[in-house]
C-alpha cells in the first residue's frame, strides 16, 4: 500500500513537472477566462485584423491543432511546407491550440511558422490548455496578442466569417460568451459561411484520448444552441487528438487530428470554402 502511494506521488510529480500542470488543473491560477478575454479585446482594439480578400469564390483553409512542440518539430515543418507550397487560393491557416508542451517557449513555434508570414499568408491561432499551464497566458499574449477575435473573408460574390473563441480553460466565461452572441448577431446576418474555431471539443462520444475534459454540460448545451440559432456552418476544435465528425442541430462539429510528432494518426485538414464547406483530412506521416 505504501509503495502504491509512493508511486502515485512520484507519478504526479513527474507529470506536473513535465507535460501537465497538475496544480492548475485543480485550483484556479493566473488570469481567468474573463480576464484573458478582456486582454484579447484590448489587443484587438489596438490591432484590428484586416479583411482578407480572395479573387475566387472558392478558396481553401488549412487547419491544424495540438502540435505540442517539444524538441521535435518535423510535423509542424512538414505542415508549413505543404501549406506554403500549395499554389491554390489558400490565404490562411488555422491553429486550434496546444502549440507547445511543458514550459517550452512559444519562440520555437514562431520561428518554425515564420515562413507562412514570409509567403504572404497568415496563420490564425487560439490558446489551448497546454498554452495556459504554468501561467503561460502572459507569454501567449506577448507572442500572439489575442486568443479571441473574428475576421471576414470577402470573395467576389460572398462573405465568410471566422470566429475564434478561447476555451483552453474549459469554459468561455461569461464575458466571452456575451461577445460571441453579439458577434454572431451583428456580423453574420449576410454571411455565406460561418466558421467557429476553438480548442475544446463539445461532445464526448468516445474515450479516444481518455483524459480530455470538456465544457460543463450547461455550457455545451448553451453554445450548441447558440450555433444553431445563428446558423453557424462549422465548429472546429482540437484537444482530443483524434478526428471526430458530428452533426448536431444542423451544425457540423469536427475535431481535427493532432499534429503532434509521434502521434500515430497525426494530420491536418483542408476546408474547401464555397457554397458550403467540404473538409478533407490528410495524414502528415
Amino acid at each position: 500500500m505504501k509503495n502504491c502511494f509512493n508511486i502515485l506521488v512520484i507519478a504526479l510529480c513527474i507529470i506536473s513537472c513535465d507535460k501537465y500542470y497538475f496544480a492548475g488543473m485543480i485550483a484556479p491560477s493566473g488570469a481567468d477566462a474573463d480576464g484573458r478575454f478582456g486582454q484579447s479585446m484590448e489587443y484587438n482594439a489596438a490591432h484590428p485584423i484586416p479583411t482578407i480578400h480572395t479573387d475566387s469564390d472558392d478558396y481553401g483553409v488549412y487547419v491544424m491543432t495540438d502540435c505540442h512542440l517539444e524538441d521535435e518539430t518535423q510535423n509542424l515543418d512538414k505542415f508549413v511546407n505543404i501549406f506554403i507550397q500549395d499554389e491554390g487560393t489558400v490565404p490562411f491557416a488555422l491553429c486550434l491550440g496546444d502549440l507547445v508542451n511543458g514550459e517550452k517557449p512559444f519562440d520555437t513555434f514562431i520561428s518554425h511558422t515564420a515562413a507562412i508570414q514570409e509567403s504572404g499568408r497568415r496563420i490564425f491561432l487560439t490558446a489551448g490548455n497546454h498554452d495556459l499551464y504554468w501561467g503561460r497566458w502572459k507569454d501567449f499574449q506577448k507572442s500572439f496578442g489575442t486568443s479571441t477575435y473574428c475576421f471576414e473573408v470577402i470573395t467576389p460574390s460572398a462573405r465568410d466569417i471566422f470566429i475564434c473563441v478561447e476555451s483552453g480553460g474549459g469554459t468561455l466565461g461569461a464575458r466571452q460568451r456575451e461577445w460571441l452572441e453579439e458577434t454572431l448577431k451583428s456580423e453574420c446576418s449576410d454571411c455565406r459561411n460561418i466558421v467557429v474555431f476553438t480548442h475544446t471539443h463539445f461532445f464526448m462520444k468516445e474515450m479516444s484520448q481518455g483524459h480530455t475534459s470538456n465544457f460543463p454540460l450547461e455550457e455545451a448545451y448553451d453554445l450548441t444552441d447558440l450555433f444553431r440559432k445563428y446558423g453557424v456552418n462549422l465548429v472546429l476544435s482540437g484537444h482530443d487528438h483524434h478526428r471526430e465528425q458530428t452533426i448536431f442541430k444542423g451544425v457540423e462539429y469536427i475535431i481535427i487530428d493532432a499534429l503532434e510528432y509521434g502521434q500515430k494518426d497525426a494530420g491536418y485538414a483542408i476546408l474547401s470554402m464555397g457554397d458550403g464547406i467540404r473538409t478533407e483530412f490528410f495524414p502528415i506521416n
Binding site: 501537465y20 488543473m25 491560477s29 480530455t212 475534459s213 450548441t224
Partner: protein, 235 residues
C-alpha cells in the same frame, strides 16, 4: 428555537442532503427544496426540487426525484437500489435513469447509469458508469441525436462528521453526478450537506454544490454554485 434557526442558517451555508440521511432508514420519506444558484452560463437561477425515498424492503429501496429550474430545465430521475447489509455498513447497487429537458436550449438528455457502492455511518463511496443520449428538440433538419461514450465513469465519495442517525449531521464529498445531473468523468462537483431533525418526522435539509470548469487536464476556474434548502417528512 433561536438555536434551531441559527443551526439551520449555518446549514444553509454549509449544506444537507436527503441521500445521506436515508442510510439505514426504513421509513418512506418525502422532501421538498428550494434552489438558488449561479453559474457563468445561466447567471442567477432558482428552482424547486421534490424527492421521494421508498424503502420497499430490507433489501430494496427506490428514489424518485423531480426538479424545475428557472434557467429552463426540468429534470426527473428514478433510482432502484438493491442493498445488502454487511457486519459494518452495507453495499448497494444503483440503477438510475435521468431525463433532463433543457427546454430553453431545445435539448433533451437521457442518462442511464449503473453503479455499485458501500456506505456506513461516516463514509460512502460509489463507482459506476453512465451513458448519455442527447436529443435535439429544435427539429433541425440534420443531427438530432448524439450518443456519448458508454465508458463515462460515475463516482461519488462522501463523508459525514457524525453517525447517520444523529439528530444533526454535516458532511461533504466529491462526485460527478447527483439526482439531476451526470457530468462527464473529468467534471467533478464538490458538495457539502447535512440535516437537522426537528422531531422524529420533520427534518431541515440544505446543501451546496460547487462546480469548477476545466478541472483535470485544463485550467481550473470557478464555474458555478448551487444551494438547496428544504424540509423532509418521514411517514
Amino acid at each position: 428555537m433561536k438555536i434551531r434557526i441559527t443551526v439551520f442558517i449555518l446549514f444553509l451555508l454549509t449544506g444537507v442532503n436527503l441521500g445521506a440521511q436515508t442510510y439505514g432508514s426504513d421509513k418512506y420519506t418525502v422532501a421538498a427544496y428550494v434552489d438558488y444558484g449561479y453559474n457563468s452560463t445561466w447567471k442567477n437561477f432558482g428552482g424547486l426540487d421534490v424527492r421521494g425515498f421508498f424503502p420497499l424492503s430490507n433489501h430494496f429501496e427506490m428514489m424518485a426525484n423531480a426538479e424545475i429550474l428557472s434557467s429552463g430545465v426540468f429534470a426527473a430521475s428514478l433510482t432502484a437500489r438493491p442493498k445488502f447489509k454487511l457486519r459494518v455498513g452495507e453495499i448497494f447497487i444503483d440503477a438510475s435513469a435521468l431525463c433532463r429537458d433543457l427546454f430553453k436550449y431545445k435539448v433533451m438528455e437521457l442518462t442511464l447509469a449503473a453503479s455499485a457502492g458501500y456506505r456506513m455511518d461516516y463514509i460512502s463511496a460509489q463507482l459506476g458508469l453512465s451513458y448519455r443520449g442527447i436529443f435535439d428538440t429544435s427539429n433541425a433538419s440534420e443531427g438530432n441525436y448524439v450518443g456519448e461514450t458508454l465508458l463515462n465513469l460515475a463516482y461519488r465519495v462522501a463523508f459525514q462528521v457524525r453517525p447517520v442517525k444523529c439528530r444533526w449531521n454535516v458532511g461533504g464529498g466529491i462526485s460527478n453526478f447527483d439526482e439531476y445531473e451526470y457530468e462527464r468523468m473529468w467534471q467533478p462537483m464538490f458538495f457539502i450537506d447535512g440535516h437537522f431533525d426537528l422531531n422524529e418526522k420533520l427534518s431541515l435539509l440544505a446543501s451546496i454544490k460547487f462546480k469548477q470548469a476545466g478541472m483535470f487536464h485544463q485550467i481550473a476556474s470557478f464555474y458555478g454554485i448551487e444551494t438547496k434548502a428544504g424540509v423532509s417528512y418521514k411517514f
